[in-house]
Amino acid sequence: MNKNTTRTGKILWLLASLAFAAALIAGWQLIANMRLISPVFLPGPDRAFDAAVTGFESGELGGKLLLTVERMIYGWVLSSILGVALGTLIGSSALARSYFGPTLEFIRPLPASAIAPIAITLFGLSNASVLVLIAFGTIWPMLLATIHGFAAIHPRLTEVGHVLKLSRLETIWKIALPNAVPDILASMRLGLTISLILTIVGEMLMGLEGIGNSILLAARSFDAPNLYAGVILIGLIGLVSNLLLDMMDRRLLRWRPSR
């Protein structure tokens, strides 16, 4: 075995794995064709694909996709900025940590979607409402990771800061924040997932135009092909955004010893 064969080995496995996925889709098609499950509930991949193509050709589906992705990203960026900023404020002071930490830990495990009724109460069924829902539902991982990143800083590094006579702001900017970056990035990955979930929920709840709402409407009108096309599109959004984050991770965390 040498490096070359292991690389071709990898590629072969990838191909095999792709083939297996294709076989699954073929199996799905077969089940649909044989009508083992009623086509009302399970259309074949061909019909879902046709529905997607028709939807994109009319420009309708593309528009909805764009709206959904836009919401997801706005909410995510907003919550990331808020989370890191607030986390820095709280995290950089041990005193603030001890006052706010427990409350935040208490709120964290709560279902983020529970913010939805509050958002609707305050902002009605509107775009602003969805943004508030996404931003406040998504903020927790980033907020807590930033605080944790500050808390978990190695005492040796703090001492380095002291010895170099860095100002408080410099210590935060040059030592504490970079130290928290891996934690923050991991939390932003989680945040993006939550953001997508809340975008879908928000669209469903508030009846706003987007993929989330359109799949709900498709289900209500027993339009299975469009429903499945929409769900697959949402999956693709998740997949692509994760891949992009992977790439970002690799760039930003190059200094870390690979595990």
Binding site: T103, P111, S113
Partner: protein
Amino acid sequence: MKGLVFPLVALVALQILAMVWGIESDNLASPVSVLQAAWTAALDGTVLTAASHTLSTTLGGLAIGGTLGLLLGLLIGLVQPIDRLLTVSLEFLRPVPSVALIPIALLIFGLGYRMELVIVAKGCFWPILIMTRAAIRGIHPRLMEVSRMLKLGPVARIWKIFLPAALPRLFVGLRLAAGVGLTIAVTVEIATNPYGLGYAVMFAQQSFRPDLMFGMLLWIGIIGWSFNAFLLFAQNRLFGRAALVGARS
């Protein structure tokens, strides 16, 4: 103790604000009226009915999704070729958010217990699958070699080496999945399904009862937090001194 200062101060401030400016309206409620509403809801059985629906769906979904996740996780953890074969399929399926399946479940099962159960099960499936696989992978190769040198059979290997070695992590997976399950159950109820705690909140909101809405949110918080605390307690209790070493490695 310091941790209690902030929420108490905030609540008192809100209460004073509410009394001075009278912010009570269709949208907002003072802390005292929220507590009152929460108390009434507990007494008249609203909380109990709603919580039992939500928790039973969570546990049922956890049982179904968790079992499937455990089995598949063991399979791909123990048999590398299957893992490699499934990589692409799993990587494509994983990012599909559970809530995106709400309409499909709705289409097939209609509103009610079953559609919620299915979505919760799907949500619990992934964390358990991933933690099981990681737990198996995390077993030190030396233990595998010990089992080879002792010539343990496949059943003894799984039963005496793999499962106990993986158990602490499996339980962490179970705990995560339980949290995810509860979140998803509430989310499904908020989004569509007219049962349980999530719906109780939505119902209060739609009937312009902010006091009850915040009261029910408070209950969701208390129940979710206790659920989590109980599982943490169980984890520490079950995996005391013996398994701590295993959990760390």
